[in-house]
């Protein structure tokens, strides 16, 4: 929303502040000013000049030498502009002055361009004639400016040499840009902003003068009838008729207002509808009355498959949710969005039907989206407008039509509407407001604020009566906000809540996640953040079978694109993608981890209930890493999480992992994760064919279930340990874990620890065998172990090992 200050001052004549003061005060009262622009920011010493005489430049074919009357005398100006003639009134920047930009209309330099007298090809030039672009504006709003040349004032514009040219063009103005919150529909209008300005600065607000129109000229109902078939979609439809239209230019003051608001003046009738739309926030539409068949307007839904040509010449496909304005035979407009080609006004229009209506906002929004046509009008209607304001806007428009002499307004109006909104009443609760805000504002002060906001007060009922334009003011909380913002948020005290004795903290789950993070970092893994959604192609890169359950991912019905279309069921794509980015940027030895959810549907797709959001701790690395180092990270984390049992590794067949280098991570008989080297084909799919990538994934709910941060002291050993070495020749198929199992099962209570200290495969060992050597340590809590104690246990262990086909070496 852009609003020129000059227009606001029409409503708040006593407003007198700097631009910055205005911005600050409005922002603090709730109308946030995003910024402002002075239209004359870099315009200095610019006057109206009249070209008295034009001569050829003696030394340059493309230049002319002009004698220009600037009121106080004549100056000589050399120009290359092709479009000036003797007698033209033009803007002239004098020696030492400034213009806003170059004549090419490119981006405006921050500090403008200084103009100095000088010689052009040997001829003195004491200033410069200006194009509209040099004045910081454009042909978008000054349609009368030439495409390439000096701006020339119209002969009847009333300006004379020496006048302030910026003033004549309406450039001594500031345009403010506001961020209007969605609840303040009324502020999408100059009047709404001006009302807020009046309340903010506590100044009187002056409504525009609206004259009663059409007193001597028949009745609108003689020309038109209106019926609304879908009252839920159209809350009010007002029709008025203007006869004997005289299309012409709008007066200067109106053009200036429109231009400062960024709208190009076109003709009086169009300008008036635009002007009223800006001023009242009520879009209006003008139909050529002669194109309205049957002298009637019917507001109704379109039929599925209807096609309608809007006034921009485009064919639009409609459906039964789109509301149309029809005459006796056909649609003539898309309600609230755009008029039809078949009823648009042209320069030859004779009689006009004016429409001011209000529609169901959400329906307009949906319709304009479905049709693919968003207009200024639909943008306003979709916010849901006040039907009472539509009436006022129509009256203002007709008053302007008479004032500007562009037609004869016919008396009366055809006004069809549902029940009109009444003024809402809210209990006035000053004590409660103070309790709510933490303030001590007097009742009278509060009432003065409401008065400034045009909220009346019924003393007998102790009720606030809310004006119709404030559709957002409904309840106690709303009334307290009005008090707060006019009192000033900055004046509200700053206190701390009364302590109710709550103790803050992290829940257990998050503590375990922090431990995962700390452990990963301690092992050199850095934390990544990846997206939760990804492409279904991921499943192919991970080589999942067509019927793999992981493919049953939740789909987003309106994704940003296929790459963001499903909710991940596996945590690998993010980390592999990130590793790939690093690898292809030649970063060496990268270690990453992520802690984030996967989303597992619990019901059939599409889901109708919450999925299982499972936190995954995923570690991924390439470069200086191998399977066993990663395994060490996993085991240290599990141990630190208070899970002191032995972690086991069982065979797994995950298609994205190397078939000979992968395992399920098993704890307490449950699979709590998996790890391995990424399958070469998956690595290739992620552009990492030239490196080995390792990943480990821990399913955090399984960890959280078993974790504990309550360690128990088990005492320090008092008696000496006895250690024995076992050296053996082991069939290749026997895994270290099988040997570990025997040692643990048979070691009994005195087994303290064991360690594989040598493994060897080679010529000295037979084909199909490997040599392994363990140190096993025994210790009793209550005595010094004797050789016999240890021998007995060792015998059990050795027997067990022989059971696995292991040959013991002496």
């Amino acid at each position: 929303m852009n609003t020129p200050l000059s227009w606001i001052k029409d409503f708040v004549p006593e407003l007198d502040c700097t631009d910055q003061e205005f911005v600050d005060a409005m922002t603090m009262s709730g109308t946030k000013c995003e910024g402002y622009e002075r239209l004359d920011k870099n315009l200095e010493k610019i006057v109206v000049g009249r070209i008295e005489k034009i001569e050829k430049h003696p030394d340059a074919d493309k230049l002319i030498v002009c004698q220009v009357d600037i009121g106080t005398g004549a100056v000589q100006i050399v120009t290359g502009a092709p479009n000036v003639s003797e007698g033209d009134l033009v803007p002239v920047v004098l020696d030492g002055g400034k213009v806003a930009g170059g004549h090419d209309g490119g981006p405006l330099p921050e500090d403008g361009i200084e103009i100095k007298a000088g010689k052009l090809r040997g001829v003195e030039s004491e200033g410069m004639m200006c194009s509209i672009e040099e004045l910081g504006s454009s042909r978008d709003v000054f349609s009368d400016a030439p495409e390439d040349g000096i701006y020339i004032f119209k002969a009847d514009s009333g300006v004379k040499p020496g006048d302030d040219a910026a003033e004549a063009l309406g450039l001594h103005d500031t345009v403010f840009d506001y961020e209007i919150t969605s609840n303040r529909v009324d502020c999408y209008s100059v009047m709404g902003i001006a009302r807020e300005a009046a309340a903010t600065f506590d100044l009187p607000f002056k409504y525009p003068e609206v004259k009663d129109t059409g007193n001597n000229s028949g009745q609108a109902s003689d020309h038109i009838s209106v019926s609304i078939e879908d009252m839920d979609l159209c809350t009010r439809y007002i029709a008025r008729v203007v006869k004997n239209i005289k299309i012409g230019e709008s007066p200067d003051w109106m053009k200036k207002r429109l231009r400062a608001s960024g709208i190009r003046p076109i003709s009086n009738i169009v300008d008036i509808t635009n002007f009223v739309m800006l001023e009242y926030g009520q879009p209006m539409h003008a139909f050529d009355l002669s194109a309205i068949a049957g002298n009637k307007i019917v507001v109704k839904r379109a039929k599925d498959g209807d096609v309608f040509t809007t006034l921009d010449g485009e064919e639009r496909k409609l459906d039964s949710d789109v509301l149309t304005i029809c005459d006796g035979e056909k649609a003539v407009a898309l309600a609230g969005i755009m008029g039809g080609e078949n009823s648009m006004i042209t320069d030859s229009v004779h009689d006009v039907l004016f429409e001011a209506a209000t529609f169901n906002g959400p329906n307009i929004r949906k319709s304009s989206r479905r049709i693919g046509l968003r207009t200024d009008s639909s943008g306003i209607f979709e916010k849901g407008l006040d039907p009472n304001n539509a009436y006022d806007a129509m009256e203002r428009a007709c008053s302007l039509i008479e004032e500007l002499g562009c037609g004869e307004v016919v008396g009366g109006r055809v006004d069809v509407h549902a029940k009109l909104p009444e003024k809402k009443h809210i209990a006035f609760e000053p004590e409660r407001i103070n309790e709510y805000l933490g303030t001590d504002i007097s009742r009278d002060t509060m009432l003065s604020y409401f008065k400034r906001l045009e909220v009346e007060y019924d003393e007998t009922k102790n009720e606030l009566i809310v004006p119709s334009f404030r559709q957002d003011l409904l309840s106690f909380a709303d009334s307290s906000e009005e008090v707060a913002r006019l009192f000033g948020y900055d004046r509200i005290p700053t206190t701390l809540p009364k302590d109710s004795g709550q103790i803050g903290g992290l829940p257990f789950k998050l503590r375990v996640e922090k431990l995962a993070r700390d452990t990963a970092c301690a092992f050199g893994f850095s934390q990544g953040y990846c997206y939760s959604f990804e492409s279904p192609e991921v499943f192919d890169k991970l080589r999942l079978k067509a019927d793999a359950p992981e493919r049953g991912a939740i789909q987003i019905s309106n994704p940003l694109g296929v790459d963001f279309s499903i909710m991940r069921t596996l945590p690998l794509n993010g980390i592999l993608g990130s590793l790939s980015v690093n690898f292809n940027r030649r970063n060496e030895n990268v270690r990453l981890f992520e802690l984030a959810n996967v989303y597992i549907p619990k019901t059939e797709l599409p889901i109708t209930d919450y999925p299982d959001e499972r936190m995954q701790f995923v570690l991924g690395a390439y470069g200086d890493i191998d399977f066993f180092e990663l395994k060490g990270v996993v085991e240290e984390f599990i141990y630190k999480a208070g899970m002191k049992e032995r972690v086991k590794y069982e065979a797994s067949e995950r298609p994205y992992l190397h078939p000979g280098r992968q395992a399920d991570i098993v704890y307490d008989k449950a699979v709590i994760g998996y790890m391995g080297q990424i399958h070469p084909l998956t690595a290739k799919a992620y552009d990492m064919a030239k490196t080995d990538v390792y990943i480990a994934v821990l399913d955090m709910p399984e960890i959280v279930k078993r974790a504990s941060f309550e360690p128990r002291y088990a005492g320090l050993a008092k008696y000496p340990a006895v250690s024995r070495d076992i050296s053996m020749v082991v069939p290749k198929a026997v895994r270290a874990q099988d040997i570990d199992d025997i040692i643990v099962q048979r070691g009994g209570k005195i087994l303290e620890s064991f360690k594989l200290f040598d493994i060897y495969e080679g010529q000295q060992i037979g084909e199909g065998f490997k040599s392994m050597a363990y140190t096993v340590v025994f210790r009793a809590k209550d005595k010094t172990l004797s050789d016999d104690d240890v021998n007995a246990v060792m015998k059990k262990i050795l027997n067990g090992l022989e059971g696995l086909g292991i040959e013991l070496r002496s």
């Binding site: 922002t27 009262s29 919150t181 969605s182 609840n183 959400p362 929004r365 916010k383 309790e435 709510y436 805000l437 933490g438 309840s475 106690f476 909380a477 906000e481 707060a484 948020y489 509200i492 005290p493 700053t494 206190t495 701390l496 809540p497 009364k498 109710s500 709550q502 103790i503 803050g504 903290g505 992290l506 829940p507 789950k509 970092c521 301690a522 092992f523 050199g524 850095s526 934390q527 990544g528 953040y529 990846c530 997206y531 939760s532 959604f533 939740i554 987003i556 309106n558 963001f564 909710m567 990130s578 980015v581 940027r585 970063n587 984030a596 959810n597 889901i607 919450y610 999925p611 959001e613």
Partner: protein, 342 residues
């Protein structure tokens, strides 16, 4: 007399000379063995004691002991000197170039988002707030309806929200956690809820379809807008420094009334205006307000007995500002060189 003084004197002289000549600890040890060892000369001499007349024994004994003491003393002194020399030589020998590169077991780095979140959590936990989590795939009711955003509200536009189907969606804000907490019926409530949220924004330097918020909620019997200001001002000073100033501007959120946005004075320029704060001196960091009584009511909380305030902080916004990261895409690329800087 089998032992005579001259012989002892001669042994002593030879021993002292040998000690003098011993240039290393090993040689010195040889000397000790040769003279005072088990089979050493002096020890051998002592063996002749049995032949000494009984009345002479004390005198001879004393003489032998004296000789032995002198020799041993000389050996010990020589040993100390030799050890000192040897140590010096060793230290000399072991000298290293301390400027050679360090051997590092590199530590990992926590993501800037997580660093910022840690800071936020620590501040609020210190003020007595509990950290809770809510679902990322959410029901329409919790993301919108219960937050006073009815079916036709523009905020629900498909443009902004990722839908799974009519009822399920990806949460666009962490505010739904407020509702889940209030529905539990345990009052008072003092919680923050960090989490991932989703909005249908194309990826660019300042937008991401997935980002993080930290929701805050306090519900108690006596809560005021002034308390909200005080709480958030305390938070801002803790996060950005004690000199930080805050500004509350009226704003609109459907689920709070009154609502505000909070700006902090630019921590780069202190409020004078710079490139960082786009010349404004202020940086917007969060939205907040008093929980709308209607929202309390929908959660079964009597708005005449209880009041609440709520706030929502954009985590990435804090991280980008605090750590001067100029492109949001960096946060999701996970380039090791980027992460190494935190």
């Amino acid at each position: 007399m089998a032992i005579n003084a001259a012989e002892l004197e001669e042994i002593k002289e030879r021993a002292l000379e040998a000690i003098k000549q011993a240039g290393a600890l090993e040689a010195l040890n040889d000397v000790r063995v040769a003279f005072t060892g088990k089979k050493g000369e002096l020890t051998e001499v002592l063996k002749g004691m049995k032949d000494v007349a009984k009345e002479d024994r004390p005198k001879v004994g004393a003489l032998v002991n004296e000789t032995r003491d002198i020799i041993e003393d000389a050996i010990n002194k020589a040993k100390i000197n030799l050890e000192a020399t040897a140590l010096e030589a060793r230290l000399q020998n072991e000298t290293i170039d301390v400027t050679l590169p360090a051997k590092k077991r590199r530590l990992g780095h926590v993501h800037p988002n997580a660093i910022a979140l840690d800071e936020l959590e620590n501040i609020f936990i210190g003020m007595g707030y509990e950290v809770v989590e809510g679902p990322e795939v959410e029901k329409d009711y919790y993301n919108f309806e219960a937050l006073n955003i009815p079916a036709d509200h523009p905020a629900k536009d498909e443009q902004d929200t990722f839908y799974i189907n009519g009822d399920m969606l990806l949460r666009t804000q962490t505010s739904g956690t407020q509702i889940h907490e209030m529905e539990k019926g345990r009052l008072p409530i003092k919680m923050i809820s960090p989490g991932r949220v989703f909005r249908s924004d194309e990826v660019d330097a300042t937008h991401s379809p997935s980002f993080h918020q930290v929701e805050g909620l306090l519900v108690d019997k006596e809560v005021t807008l002034a308390d909200l200001k005080g709480t958030l001002e305390t938070f801002a000073k803790k996060l950005f420094g004690e000199d930080t100033k805050v500004k509350f501007r009226p704003h609109h959120f459907p689920f709070t009334e009154p609502s505000a946005e909070m700006d902090v004075s630019c921590f780069k320029c202190g409020g004078k205006g710079c490139r960082f704060c786009k010349g404004e001196g202020w940086i917007e960091i969060l939205g907040c307000g008093m929980v709308h009584p209607h929202v309390l009511e929908m959660c079964g909380i009597d708005p005449l007995k209880y009041k609440g305030f709520a706030f929502g902080i954009g985590l990435e916004r804090i991280a980008l500002l605090k750590y001067e990261i100029d492109d949001m895409r960096l946060l999701y690329e996970n380039d090791q060189r980027f992460l190494d800087q935190f």
